[in-house]
Symmetry: C2
DNA sequence: CAAACATATTGATAGTTTTCGATTTGTCAA
DNA sequence: TTGACAAATCGAAAACTATCAATATGTTTG
């Protein structure tokens, strides 16, 4: 991880809602209903589910999720019309290493 | 560490100059001249030294140092007319724990 | 006490982030 | 191929952050 990426990750961590999303994605099965079609969380949770839980607007959460993906805190996978998001544990580790 | 403090620490970590200050304070003797009166870095480094090294204005660095102290990333000690700043290793550990 | 130096505060401007509603684009399934 | 749903983008207003020069406040020392 370089300084630029570290700063972008730090920016993601300055907002309550984005932190909540990261927490929820740690335990998808405890925080979200089972997915109707997929039946598992191997790719994470789809954007709509996350947005519903935040009670913020669709555009705001889309912006959040995309910025978190851009700095690599999240990994996204498109499956048909849904986009799934999951935590990128590696980047969190790298961030901690850099901070140390 | 609670969410509020975590967010404030994250904010401190979103700026290149503040990151540099944290790095420099990790090895004061390698990054700053020996202090004329004190002769050691047990309380950290005085504000003027830090400001000189950044090449930013005194008021900006004063604001930075104070905000970093407020969120407890730094510990400050006033000795006469100087204020010394050092890293608060405990808060950095707590921050990492929270993030995990 | 006054001069000199360190630090904090103030007030201002420029830039960035937050957040939304509206619109657009992508994808599926009837 | 159209209707419905998911996601991304756009444009705008409000809030917040960065940064400075100028000024004020503390503190030491001659």
């Amino acid at each position: 991880m370089n300084e630029k990426q570290f700063i972008e990750v730090s920016k993601s961590l300055t907002n309550r809602t984005r932190l909540k999303i990261l927490e929820w994605l740690k335990e998808p099965d405890e925080n979200f209903p089972p997915h109707p079609t997929l039946g598992h969380f191997d790719f994470g949770v789809c954007g709509t589910f996350i947005q519903k839980k935040t009670e913020m607007s669709q555009s705001t959460i889309s912006t959040y999720l995309n910025s978190m993906e851009k700095c690599e805190l999240l990994i996204s996978t498109r499956k048909g019309k849904w986009t799934y998001f999951k935590r990128n544990e590696k980047i969190i580790k790298d961030y901690i290493e850099y901070l140390k």
